[in-house]
């Protein structure tokens, strides 16, 4: 593996997309639209922001990364493979019986998968407790919670939003992947009727809204979130585009579970391979 600092974030995001496509190809399915969309945010998370030791996923000094959205596991596995937390040669086992990489992320199965996601609206509350625990231990690590826009419909998320403010959790950073697509349609046609950043700001958070596929903007937002001096929790609303990076999938009708024909996985990979960043 090349030294972390010598590889561009664009290359990292490219590798995350590639790993996700390879896993999708294995199963002939997967939440590939979400994985391609969030790859840039994960690249910044794992190769710019987070403090961790690949060989020791339970290192006490690590920043905690809680994935609420269990179905995004394919994306997180892709990032953790690139980060050296998971071995690359297990890509072919994704979603198989006895795999360490099940379709929905679970703590008991996978090194580096901190929590069991999937029942949405849980992650931010658990992150509140972990942030409280880290403060009790005087551990300076951050807790990151990646959640989805659809998950903001869960009332429990807002209990956690208020609680994080009550306890002044300046060690908590929420990352919302806002791709405006939940299971039955656009999130903005469901409960997300009001712009998100203003809503979180009104609740007392330090809120930023960025183009989640603009690497520089995402880096700046993570830096600002970590360096903010207020005693408030921080949120980064990352507006991402489903299927980002594979034009023929970007142009397809976007749904929660983007359709990919069997022969199209190889086609997508060849498009990606032709555009490998430096």
């Amino acid at each position: 593996m090349e030294a972390r600092s010598n590889v561009s974030l664009a290359r990292r995001a490219w590798a995350i997309r590639r790993n996700a496509l390879l896993m999708g190809e294995v199963q002939g399915q997967g939440y590939i639209g979400q994985a391609l969309g969030v790859a840039d945010v994960l690249a910044v998370s794992y190769f710019h922001a987070l403090n961790y030791r690949p060989a020791d996923p339970e290192w006490e000094g690590r920043d905690r990364f809680y994935l609420s959205i269990g179905h995004y596991a394919i994306a997180l596995y892709a990032a953790m493979i690139e980060a050296g937390i998971l071995p690359e040669d297990e890509i072919g086992t994704y979603g198989m019986d006895d795999s360490r990489m099940p379709m929905s992320g679970m703590a008991a199965y996978t090194p580096g998968m901190e929590i069991t996601g999937g029942s949405l609206g849980h992650g931010l509350g658990i992150a509140v407790g972990a942030a409280l625990g880290l403060k009790r231990k005087k551990n300076p690590a951050f807790v990151y919670n990646m959640l989805s826009d659809g998950e903001l419909g869960e009332g429990s998320t807002w209990e956690a939003v208020m609680s994080a403010v009550q306890w002044k959790l300046d060690n908590l950073i929420a990352i919302v992947d806002f791709n405006n697509q939940q299971a039955d349609g656009p999130t903005t046609q469901a409960l997300a009727q009001v712009p998100e950043a203003a809503k979180w700001e009104a609740f007392g958070w330090f809120a930023q809204s960025v183009d989640g596929n603009d690497m520089d903007a995402v880096v700046d937002a993570f830096d600002a979130a970590r360096q903010h001096t207020g005693d408030r929790p921080r949120v980064i609303i990352c507006n991402t585009k489903m299927c980002k990076g594979i034009p023929f999938l970007e142009d397809r009708e976007i749904t929660h579970f983007v359709r990919v024909e069997p022969e199209e996985w190889a086609k997508a990979l060849s498009i990606l391979d032709a555009e490998k960043p430096a």
């Binding site: 509350g125 658990i126 509140v128 407790g129 409280l132 625990g133 956690a160 208020m162």
Partner: protein, 346 residues
């Protein structure tokens, strides 16, 4: 359809007439459950937790706006920096307890049994039980311990919680047992749901030299004719009923089963097999899905075919009112238990 007809369809109001003459009035949240004159101990859960916390720095307390009503305020006063008032928000209280447990702490989270079992179930099962985290959920107002009606009467909490893998469930009888069980569950490495009696709690088991052991049912008294199998404060009732029935020549044993899950099937089967006795389960819970059905299934699975009766609350939304009235009405008072057994042993 007329407005009047529509209105009638939407209303659940059932015609009632106002009471006349002197009646008992609905008690405050915490009513005396016990016979007059028995010694009580104040806030046994809160006191035990304070005592434990002296040597256990990992213990923290959380509540969802009910510290005073779960005796956690005693802990909050003694250890303000280890107490988290989470507000009226059960989901984040439970999730945050999971997060604290992940970071090495042993959280005790308190609310009413209705709110933990009904509202917070998904958070308990996925954030805590699925990862086998050592969070202790301690809940006041179990079963029929308030006259406020179905919003506060956790008549089906055991039925709800028994289905949860990894979860240990405790239904303690009295102040002595609450003290002992609090210490025992703090040492247990997994999640626990414990029903709580709070405030001035009777001391019933003191005279039996009782020692709570997690997962163990214990014979408190032996008897030839009837074997009561009871949990929670219904063990107070079965002990008192056994004394009353003695004078009628009916000899009753009492097997106390404070751990509802995992159930001590070995002891239950062994005692039920001691022939010739009517097995009578007694629980402060709906007859659906609680101790009674758990015991019945245990006996069936082990091929123990004995006469069997179940004392418990009906599978219904219960009335509001004074607890003594309601306990008589629903058959869980000492008098009602005694009368039922007399009817069965003729």
């Amino acid at each position: 359809m007329s407005d009047q007809e529509l209105s009638r369809r939407q209303s659940k109001y059932t015609a009632r007439t106002a009471p006349t003459g002197e009646r008992l009035s609905t008690s405050a949240m915490i009513a005396s459950l016990d016979a007059e004159g028995r010694e009580t101990i104040a806030a046994p859960f809160g006191q035990a937790l304070v005592d434990l916390a002296k040597t256990r720095e990992d213990i923290v307390g959380l509540t969802a706006d009910l510290s005073k009503y779960t005796d956690l305020h005693v802990f909050a006063k003694a250890y303000p920096d280890r107490f988290y008032q989470m507000g009226m928000a059960e989901a984040v209280m439970i999730s945050a307890a999971a997060g604290l447990a992940r970071e090495g702490f042993t959280p005790f989270a308190t609310t009413y049994a209705v709110f933990a079992s009904r509202r917070a179930y998904d958070f308990i099962i996925m954030a805590i039980a699925e990862e086998n985290l050592p969070v202790k959920i301690v809940c006041a107002l179990p079963g029929l311990t308030t006259g406020y009606g179905p919003s506060h009467q956790a008549t089906e909490d055991l039925a709800i919680m028994r289905g949860m893998p990894n979860l240990t469930i405790i239904d303690p009888c009295d102040a002595v047992e609450i003290d002992q069980a609090t210490r025992a569950i703090a040492d247990h490495p997994g999640p626990v749901y414990m029903r709580l009696l709070r405030g001035q709690v009777p001391n019933v088991l003191g005279e039996y030299g009782y020692q709570f052991k997690l997962g163990q049912a214990q014979m408190l008294r032996d008897g030839r004719d009837v074997l009561f199998v009871s949990s929670g404060y219904m063990t107070m009732r079965t002990l008192d009923a056994a004394k009353a029935l003695q004078s009628d020549g009916i000899d009753c044993g009492v097997l106390h089963v404070p751990t509802i899950k995992p159930l001590d099937t070995t002891t239950i089967v062994a005692e039920a097999q001691k022939g010739g006795r009517l097995v009578v389960t007694a629980e402060n819970h709906s007859v659906t899905g609680g101790l009674g059905e758990a015991v019945a299934a245990t006996l069936m699975r082990h091929g123990v075919h004995v006469p069997f009766r179940q004392i418990g609350l009906p599978d219904a939304f219960l009335d509001a009112g004074a607890l003594p009235t309601l306990h008589d009405q629903y058959g869980i008072s000492v008098d009602a238990v005694t009368a039922a057994v007399k009817g069965w042993i003729k």
